[in-house]
Symmetry: C2
Subunit: 434 residues, 2 copies
């Protein structure tokens, strides 16, 4: 009986695992140097952690289950609710700003498609407990530092930034009723993916006629920082809106100070899908093919209090592993990742094998990656096995070992070899052989 | 509305996460130097992957769910079935022996108790595609190398080893019917945890009267290598059994060659709970308190073919994070794990803050962990914030920067400080300051 895997999940054979580890190492290294500390939560959370924020309609998008005690559980679809729960539980004692990162595996109960799988890893950065724009700056800065470390230049990718306060201010000025904001943001979020007629229809259906779609078109046309600066749309100079334009300007100035201005642009259509965002919001795209965001983030002012915590602002970024690896693969930027075997021990005589085993154990205890053949076979076969797994050097135990206490060390890159006294070799196993 | 976490799961705040990362790093480092390569599979598997091997009764011990397409799924309770599935899918092309390791998160749908949680991490080592005892030796050796690296000596822990072929040979000689082996192994597996009367009762109930419990008592009395060597039990010298005693001797000789003999002992009662084991089996215990195994493993000859693959022998070891961390905490062997901030940048004048931000970005790009205060506040407050997060040194931007292009670098350990030209500082930011 042959059993397959579940579609939308991945088997990480050693080659795929090496790529995943490379990516996760970059995420960790970048996070740490930007002053974030790592945390994690459970994979299984109480289902209500998600319904409290998003209502019952989210249940269909989650893998949910009931345990033997009848408790309704879900596999985490994202990390932010867990973060909010954990911060709330220690809100009084955590020093602020709370700068945390994590690399959780998350789950999505959807039909899998390109760039969206049922299981994925997501790098998360969050700065909680301050409404200072520096929190947004640091999340964007660290994201870009990561893109750069992954080999992506400002010609390859762009971070498109907007601000929900600015867009909300415009909604207000246009006369949008308060109960339509969520629908209006959801419609704007579709603007980069829908043709104008479809978008107009969505707007009419979900937002209604209080603000005709035509009134919104000047906003949707502001797709760059230059367009924002050059726009003569009167709405932008109304005091309540102009104030938010200034906040956007300050954010871009700070990003320029950090040396990442060329990676960043403004785009009024980027407002993000989650309803909990309340301030600066952003998504990064492959410049050649901007359909799918490689990362996204923004500020959330009310999320912690919705989940029973204090009023505490936060801002966060998420980058999944699936889209970024697609982009890197398409651009040929995933490096060659070979495994490292420092030493492969060879016995020229099966009676020396116990000594090989003993030496291998000692070398491994010293921290060296060390291998040998299970089969007692000809030296040539053992040397090929060593070359096959990419070993750096072979150490041959033969007559020279038995009679003179020496081993022959062969560098597989240069093919040079040298007899070395075993005691001398053990003092410095990676000493030069030429 | 305050929502809690699900009992039996853990929140990894930064302190707990640092401990988890320390443990996982040791697992990875030890695996790699012993020549194992990392892989992983999905968390969600088809439910039948587990029922195929263990029958329907396992379903109650699993977190299982049904997706929208009606597919029966389970959260992996252990890694071996996934390993078997993945190896089977590429059985023809993987070079053997397959030496793989992984650190999966696994799930158990049980009431949580001390040492057993609903979510846990488990280090797995497997050598597949060979029935050579060297596979068993390498798994045991790497496990012990890990225990040693975690600070546990042969006085702290012991690996108790037996062999299901030896115990099975004894069953055969005692006249046990073939269909009672599984029940007999399951009863022996309880021998270290049950009082003799309860064990005798279990034996009578599950195995029956073909072999009275009294016949088994000489076997259960063999609880050390000395006892095995010194036993005058006639059964041990019958050829079919003596052969397996020799195999056990060879395993111990090889472990002694590897220098880990003092960590190992024989114990005939160790046969492991999973029915799939067929050869050498072992568990390691804290010597002071031997109730809960810190690791366990053994050889499985038929697992891959049960799951639709070729006949291929394998051997593997698993170590969970929960019990080992309990043992290490009780013995006080978990090291202090402080976060590292290399540099904390301070502005003595808010107009210099943009330069602080710019410098921080450049230092982070060089790989240095760098922090600064979000609030523009007095130098003293910024210095305390730096000390509070354990920064190694502070870099002060003040009058000396504005007038002379210099910064003051202060080592927080020695409290020594020095003015350095900014360009010179950027060339070597961690240069000595005394």
């Amino acid at each position: 009986m042959k059993i397959g895997s579940y579609r939308g999940t991945r088997d990480f054979y050693p080659e795929e695992m090496a790529v995943r580890n490379w990516l996760v190492d970059v995420w960790r290294r970048v996070s740490l140097r930007h002053g974030f500390v790592e945390y994690d939560g459970p994979t299984l959370e109480m289902l209500e952690l998600y319904t409290a924020k998003s209502g019952q309609e989210i249940v269909d998008q989650l893998f949910n289950l009931t345990d033997r005690g009848g408790r309704a559980l879900a596999l985490r679809p994202e990390m932010t609710p867990t973060l909010a729960r954990m911060v709330n539980a220690r809100a009084g004692s955590l020093p602020r700003p709370i700068k945390w990162f994590c690399v959780p595996r998350c789950y999505r109960a959807e039909r899998p498609q390109r760039g969206r799988l049922r299981e994925f890893f997501q790098w998360n950065l969050d700065v909680v407990g301050t409404d200072d724009v520096l929190g947004d700056v640091e999340c964007i800065l660290a994201s870009i530092d990561c893109l750069r470390e992954l080999g992506l230049t400002a010609e390859d990718v762009v971070v498109k930034i907007s601000d929900r306060r600015l867009v909300g201010g415009i909604f207000e000025l246009l006369g949008l009723p308060g109960d339509k904001y969520e629908a209006a943001f959801a419609a704007v979020d579709k603007a980069t993916r829908l043709p104008p007629e479809a978008l107009a229809e969505l707007w009419a259906d979900s937002v209604g006629s209080a603000v005709p779609f035509a009134d919104l078109e000047p906003l949707l046309a502001i797709q760059s920082r230059d367009a924002l600066r050059q726009s003569d749309w009167s709405v932008l100079s109304a005091p309540a809106v102009a104030n938010h334009v200034k906040e956007v300007d300050r954010l871009f100035e700070l990003l320029a100070s950090c040396g990442v201005g060329d990676y960043c642009d403004f785009d009024a259509r980027i407002v993000r899908g989650f309803a909990y965002y309340t301030g600066p919001v952003y998504e990064a795209f492959d410049r050649r093919q901007s359909l799918r965001a490689v990362l996204g983030g923004g500020r959330y002012d009310n999320l912690l209090s919705v989940l029973g915590g204090p009023k505490m602002s936060g801002t966060g970024m998420g980058m999944g592993d699936v889209v970024i690896l697609e982009v890197l693969n398409e651009l040929g930027r995933v490096p060659r990742l070979d495994r490292t075997i420092d030493l492969f021990l060879v016995d020229a005589d099966r009676e020396l094998f116990d000594q090989v085993l003993q030496t291998a154990s000692q070398l491994r205890q010293k921290g060296l990656a060390c291998e040998f053949s299970y089969k007692r076979q000809a030296v040539g076969k053992q040397l090929s096995a060593a070359a096959g797994m990419g070993a750096k050097r072979c150490v041959i135990f033969g007559d020279e070992t038995r009679s003179g206490g020496a081993v022959t060390v062969k560098d597989l890159a240069t093919q040079k070899q040298k007899q070395i006294a075993l005691s001398d070799f053990m003092r410095d196993p990676m000493q030069p052989v030429d």
